[in-house]
């Protein structure tokens, strides 16, 4: 009887563990295994080849620049997203007529598929007829439609900046909402105390709001880092990572590798994966989540 009671939770959790095992854990095993195999384009396994895939990967001429670009991509997109979201959360935390409707507008890029948002911006940046270029032409920023200047996605630097903008745009809703829920958790009397002490609104923001918002900021940052690192549709649809690999992040690079060399793509995935785990573990240790989950 006692044994049955002990085993009962397994019955309740079993299906969940099985699903996680099949969909999340087993692919990791397959991925690690594939990274030590030579695999043809059709998925035919020619056999184990030791660390050849890793050797080849680390000697790819684009490897280092792709990693550096990934770092810039993640830091810039997450950083700018957090800064703008802090402002947006502060704004939408205020009471004003029509707040509910404006918040609905805010969620659209979150609810819509990132694929669609990326395609809208790809179209809007079309050098000849894209609406952003048409507007920029009207106000005199773009001198000539169809010129090199209007071909934002043809130049690696301007393409990256625009794509970072799109990545920020689709990350803002979740981040703002996460910070808004953090703001709602701050009791009002904390501010009263601060204003009695004569703190100006800016001082009380820095001294009271930001420290109390820290858990929300940490969680939103972590979730954003993971999302932005793994971001696929924006770069894929807008530049395919090109010209060459000049606008590829490591996720795009891995997916491109998958077309030519599955084993090496697996090695790249394992590498990306370890990178993400390192980031997560650093976070777990700095914020001591384990105790909090256990409650």
């Amino acid at each position: 009887m006692l044994a049955i009671r002990r085993l009962a939770p397994m019955l309740w959790l079993g299906p969940a563990v099985a699903l996680i095992g099949v969909v999340v854990l087993w692919p990791v095993v397959v991925m690690v295994q594939s990274s030590f195999q030579q695999i043809g384009g059709e998925g035919f396994v020619a056999g184990y080849n030791g660390t050849t895939n890793y050797d080849n990967l680390f000697h790819e001429p684009d490897f280092v620049s792709v990693l550096l670009r990934t770092l810039v991509w993640v830091v810039a997109v997450v950083g700018v997203t957090m800064l703008i979201s802090l402002g947006l959360a502060q704004l939408f935390h205020q009471k004003f007529p029509g707040r509910r409707v404006t918040r609905w507008a805010l969620i659209i890029p979150w609810a819509a598929s990132v694929l669609m948002t990326a395609l809208i911006f790809k179209w809007a940046l079309d050098p000849n007829v894209g609406v952003i270029n048409v507007i920029l032409h009207h106000i005199g920023v773009v001198k000539q439609l169809g010129s090199d200047q209007a071909d934002w996605l043809g130049n690696p630097t301007s393409a990256l900046i625009w794509m970072m903008g799109v990545a920020v745009f689709v990350s803002l809703p979740f981040t703002t909402y996460a910070l808004l829920s953090g703001l709602q958790g701050i009791p009002g009397d904390v501010y009263e105390a601060a204003s009695i002490d004569g703190a100006t609104s800016w001082r009380s923001y820095l001294g009271v709001t930001l420290p109390l918002l820290r858990p929300a900021i940490l969680v939103a940052t972590l979730i954003n880092v993971i999302n932005v690192f793994n971001s696929f549709p924006i770069i894929w649809e807008m530049t395919r990572g090109g010209p060459g690999y000049e606008t590829s992040t490591s996720t795009i690079y891995m997916i491109d590798l998958k077309e030519s060399d599955v084993g090496q793509a697996a090695a790249m995935s394992v590498f990306n994966f370890l990178l993400v785990i390192v980031i997560v573990l650093v976070y777990l240790s700095t914020t001591r989540w384990k105790e909090q989950v256990a409650r």
Binding site: W12, V17, V24, A111, A112, W123, V129, L218, I223, F273
Partner: protein, 292 residues
């Protein structure tokens, strides 16, 4: 005029520094800033609508708005098998949602009600899966599910269920935890039995959480692109999910923008409306595991 439309809300006694008359002006400045930002968030999707309504012979015209408006993109959309894609996407999203609910509800209930060995381990496992994304393990997913040899729709149902399980477990765990166990016990004393108490007391009280998990999973599976693109490669358009079908409008040399955005609207509008229902609760599901 702006300053007189709204009476000043009563000020707390401590906020004596702000004069009464400045409060409504400040409110309106905030409101207008928020309206402007809302419009900015809306604009890209309005452009999608304008493009869908633009006649094909105006695609090369450098104008902000089309000169003429047409619905032809929407009426000719269906001849390319888009109806089949919508059906496939519905199948995948609904299938994934059903699996997620069936699997997450017992797990969330059990971890909310009981303390047992392995509970923390399980919750950490769930938290860890939230950190994993399909893009990071695409090679593994592709090789595993190619080996299984299931039809792509089936594979996509399972993959989407797996990657959205964490959200459902967290949000349901929070809801079940907030329902006092005494309520169930009282119902059982009244002769309902354990199952009756669960069905008639606990589940209705957890309904908002269940609806949130349901809609969130549905939307995530509906919008998923990368795994869908990888696993449904080589299928006919009507067998491919909507996101992949939309991507197919991009040809090697030209893009069928009119149909692409018309299909995009069909794919996007229902999802935005659904999302508005769960808007307030989504964040807690995404961050609960981390901040608890």
């Amino acid at each position: 005029m702006i300053t007189t439309t709204k009476p000043a809300p009563p000020l707390p006694a401590t906020a004596r520094s702000a004069p009464r008359s400045r409060r409504p002006l400040r409110t309106w400045v905030i409101a207008i800033a928020a309206y402007v930002i809302a419009v900015i968030f809306l604009l890209p999707y309005l452009e999608m609508l304008f493009m869908a309504l633009r006649p094909n012979n105006e695609l090369g015209l450098a104008t902000i708005l089309p000169k003429h408006w047409t619905f032809s993109n929407f009426t000719t959309l269906w001849s390319s098998g888009l109806g089949g894609s919508i059906g496939t996407s519905l199948e995948i999203a609904a299938g994934a949602t059903v699996i997620v609910l069936l699997v997450s509800m017992p797990a969330a209930y059990c971890t909310a009600r009981r303390r047992f060995r392995g509970r923390t381990g399980f919750l950490l496992l769930v938290l860890a899966t939230q950190m994993f994304q399909p893009a990071a393990m695409l090679v593994g997913i592709q090789r595993e599910f190619t080996n299984f040899g299931l039809p792509p729709t089936m594979s996509l149902i399972i993959v989407n269920a797996g990657f959205n399980l964490a959200f459902a477990v967290w949000i349901l765990n929070a809801f079940f935890s907030s329902i006092p166990a005494e309520l169930e016990e009282a119902a059982m004393v009244d002769g309902m039995g354990r199952v009756g108490a669960l069905l008639r007391i606990t589940l209705p009280l957890a309904a908002p959480g269940i609806v949130t998990a349901l809609i969130f999973t549905f939307i995530a599976a509906w919008n998923e692109f990368l795994v869908a693109l990888t696993l449904s490669l080589g299928e006919g358009t009507s067998q491919q999910p909507l996101t992949v079908a939309i991507n197919n409008y991009i040809g090697e040399y030209s893009v069928d923008w009119g149909h692409l955005f018309a299909a995009g609207l069909v794919a996007t509008v229902p999802v935005i409306i659904l999302f508005a229902f769960i808007e307030r609760r989504v964040v807690s599901g995404l961050t609960a595991g981390a901040v608890k």
